[in-house]
């Protein structure tokens, strides 16, 4: 890194929260520099103030939140905190651009992609740019972010693109005016591992090409290890540590930094208890097929998606089997078919050696023994149902008296690390990690034999993820569970499973023990997934161990 005046220099930034907030400052006297041609990673858990920092730079703070008067945010000789809204607009999108976390909600669903990208150009060019020149530049930038057939992408609507493609469009939009500084707020958190790898590579190569400064916000030290030049670690609005990547990763000084690095999954295989070896598998799937057909119109041919293509899988009692694949590989559909939420087209599912009948009573009795934890902790709890009620309902349905069921709920809440007093509270009073613990308690209330975890930790911060994974591992031995763990993250799979199954386009392409899969992947797709793991280079020696 060349030592000269930094591109962006934040000094003593304090972001004041309204008096009703749980703390006075979202960001407390933060100072950091970003040089030209440098990627600075801002790391911390949700609520640590890292997004607020980025929003403060752009002057995009929410209402009633303000910047303290002592703060200075200097870029190219201008103090951005002193700019009036009119002047700030000249900076936004021209010299500083931002990429957001949620590519699904950051694009206008009713406008073609090209029009939305072009808007960034029209807003910042006083001189009239001709229609054809705009078109050319839009196509060029779409091409530059690695999207196939850019002329077709330009004419597409956002819903026609995948999550990764949308994120590329967002990056194209951000880079159209050749900004000097790019703020990337968790741009890969909503994506699966393979797409994340592509976006990280893209950001890195564009940054090098354009010699931009990048402030990259993330909660995942795996990502940090891959792309950072320098690292700033934040906790509760305060910077607890900063330094070059190697300093921070190899010799973390602060306990919080060490905890975050420790939380990166897949560094160590847990002591995985493999229950008593049963003679027959608990779950046996044979030749399972499922094809989804969507008819969009009278004259367009129906679109078919093969979600399951003659899948065979068997899970022995006491075992944890991970099903790994990217979005669209059919892994969630597989989980839902096992749960009998989706009926397969053909094939058999045997549970404890017996097929499950089709009558309402039989399916209900089966579901008592097979429970599921969903991905989204915010969508999987009924917002109008008290937490205790949500957990107690299962036992009540199967004949446990209400008072006793509520006692079970309280005990389970206590067991998953929440206080028993949570029984009388509503889901919105809990954080994402806590809600996922509630979902686990709800699934366990019926004392299931098989637990399906459908991306159960994917929506969580890495540090919270580690806690929930540890909890699941404990509960597994305690309750004698068999688990089917669906995830896109091989790191997570490696950490908790006895055996890993890799799925691609509805087919199982490879299976085996995690150690074997990591050391000698047979299928190209497995190798691709392995290569996509963030922080691979840095954490590799630990994974292999």
């Amino acid at each position: 890194m060349t030592v000269k005046t930094p591109l962006l220099s934040i000094q003593n930034l304090s972001v004041v929260l309204p008096s009703s907030g749980d703390r006075a400052y979202a960001v407390d006297r933060l100072s950091l520099d970003i040089g030209e041609n440098e990627i600075v990673c801002l790391v911390g858990e949700s609520g640590s103030g890292k997004s607020m920092t980025a929003h403060a730079v752009l002057g995009l703070l929410p209402p009633r939140v303000s910047i303290d008067r002592m703060s200075r945010i200097e870029m190219m000789g201008t103090d951005l905190t002193r700019l009036d809204p009119q002047a700030m607009r000249q900076w936004r999108g021209e010299r500083i651009s931002m990429v957001f976390q949620e590519p699904m909600s950051a694009l206008n669903p009713l406008q073609r992609v090209g029009v939305q990208v072009a808007e960034a150009l029209q807003l910042h060019n006083d001189a009239r740019v001709s229609r054809t020149e705009i078109d050319e530049r839009v196509v060029a930038i779409i091409d530059a972010v690695g999207l196939p057939s850019p002329r077709q992408i330009v004419r597409s609507y956002p819903f026609q693109l995948s999550g990764g493609q949308r994120q590329r469009v967002m990056i194209a939009m951000a880079l159209l005016n050749n900004p000097r500084l790019l703020l990337a707020d968790e741009p890969t958190t909503a994506l699966d591992v393979t797409t994340q790898r592509q976006i990280l590579d893209l950001i890195q190569s564009l940054q090098a090409q354009r010699q931009m400064g990048v402030l990259f916000i993330t909660h995942d030290f795996g990502v940090v290890a891959d792309i950072a030049d320098r690292v700033v670690v934040m906790q509760h609005g305060i910077v607890v540590e900063q330094g070059t990547r190697d300093e921070v990763l190899r010799h973390p000084q602060h306990a919080y930094t060490r905890a975050l690095i420790e939380a990166v999954p897949g560094r160590k295989a847990r002591a995985i208890a493999r229950g008593g070896v049963a003679a027959q598998p608990l779950l046996k799937i044979e030749g399972l097929n499922k094809t989804f057909v969507t008819r969009s119109g009278l004259f367009t041919p129906p679109r078919t998606v093969v979600a399951a293509d003659s899948i065979d899988l068997s899970i022995t009692e006491g075992e944890t089997v991970s099903v790994v694949g990217e979005s669209g590989s059919g892994k969630s559909t597989l989980g839902r078919m096992v749960m009998r939420l989706i009926e397969p087209d053909s094939g058999t599912i045997l549970f404890a050696g017996k097929p499950v009948g089709h009558s309402v009573a039989e399916v209900r009795e089966y579901r008592r023994q097979v429970q599921i934890i969903f991905q989204d902790p915010f969508a999987s709890l009924n917002p109008r149902q008290k937490v205790g009620e949500a957990i107690a309902r299962g036992p009540i349905i199967f004949g446990t008296p209400r008072a006793e069921a509520l006692k079970i709920a309280a005990a389970l809440l206590d067991r998953v690390g929440l206080s028993a007093a949570a029984v009388d509270r509503f889901p919105h009073e809990f954080s994402g990690g806590q809600r996922q613990r509630i979902s686990i308690a709800r699934a366990l209330a019926l004392k299931p034999r098989l637990l399906i975890a459908d991306e159960a930790v994917s929506a969580l911060d890495v540090s919270v993820q580690a806690q929930v994974l540890a909890l699941l591992a404990e509960l597994k031995t305690e309750f004698g569970l068999t688990m089917m763990f669906i995830t896109h993250d091989l790191r997570v799979a490696a950490e908790i499973s006895n055996s890993v199954v890799v799925m691609q386009k509805g087919r199982i392409v490879e299976r085996g023990a995690p150690a074997k899969l990591f050391s000698g992947p047979q299928h190209d797709y497995t190798r691709q997934l392995l290569g996509a793991m963030p922080g691979l280079d840095f954490f590799e020696h630990r994974i292999a161990a």
């Binding site: 209900r364 579901r367 429970q371 109008r384 349905i397 019926l446």
Partner: protein
């Protein structure tokens, strides 16, 4: 529940609406005490202006006390508004819930049936029904319910379609909840706030429809109602303004109050907004 009540008490416009509404209800309850006797009786000279001969709001063309008419009309208006809306909600929620939850062919069929009612202009249909069934309070309630349930059904169906795919509903299904329990415990409570808001606004619309029917002479001939009073007074509005203005104000205030309460409920029943 107490939390909902408490946040409603802190909702300024909702509370204003509630206070007006309670006054209207009090007036309806106190009508026989305030104005004993029949509001149709002639008690004074015709066209007595307000605040003369001991009459607060004057008398009409046949010497009937306007204030007594309004007080007794309150009972009719509120009763018709509430009862017809309850009937409409009952039909609408059941049809919408079934259509949304079951989906498929049955769902489509129920929606086509709903559209059958929506293609006929609501007020014309109401006039037609009352005219055919002969005007009485029962037929008026039926007519208003028949024209107002389709929008409740459509709303409920939309909410159900979106909610039944949500993960918490699937989780409840995995817990072993029956279809009825899924609808009643999980989907309906989350669909309830827009339904309640629509319902409260439907009461206001029902009062307006009843007034319009009475205005056209299709009200229950035995019951004094606001719409009838305005209808009877319309030709004399330049000579005796009080005959139509006061019943009009009564309709305005009642409908406004119900709307305010409805919007207040909308804010309060949304857990995220109310607790900020």
């Amino acid at each position: 529940m107490t939390a909902i009540v408490r946040s409603f008490l802190r909702h300024p416009s909702g509370m204003l609406g509630l206070v007006i509404l309670l006054l209207v209800v009090a007036l309806a309850l106190a009508a026989p005490l305030l104005y004993p006797g029949n509001p149709w009786d002639t008690v004074a000279a015709p066209f007595t202006p307000p605040r003369t001969d001991g009459m607060l709001l004057g008398s009409d063309s046949l010497g009937r006390d306007i204030a007594a008419g309004i007080a007794h009309g309150t009972r009719v208006s509120l009763m018709i508004g509430v009862v017809s809306t309850l009937v409409a909600l009952l039909i609408g929620v059941v049809v919408g819930a079934l259509s949304g939850y079951l989906g498929g062919r049955i769902g489509e069929l129920l929606m086509r049936f709903t559209e059958l009612f929506q293609t006929i202009p609501a007020f014309l249909l109401a006039i037609l029904l009352v005219a055919i069934l002969t005007p009485s309070i029962r037929t008026i309630v039926i007519a208003i319910a028949v024209v107002s349930w389709p929008q409740v059904a459509r709303l409920t169906r939309g909410e159900f379609l979106a909610l039944k795919e949500r993960e918490f509903v699937q989780a409840a299904r995995c817990q072993g909840e029956s279809a009825l329990a899924l609808i009643v415990r999980h989907i309906l409570p989350n669909a309830l706030s827009p339904i309640i808001v629509t319902g409260s606004l439907a009461i206001a619309t029902a009062i307006l429809i009843e007034s319009a029917l009475s205005f056209m002479g299709l009200g229950d001939p035995n019951l004094m109602s606001w719409g009838f009073m305005i209808g009877a007074a319309r030709t004399m509005i330049r000579t005796a303004w009080w005959m139509s203005v006061f019943p009009g104000v009564a309709i305005l205030l009642t409908v406004l109050a119900i709307n305010l309460v409805g919007e207040g409920l909308n804010d309060v029943l949304n857990p995220r907004i109310s607790r900020q």
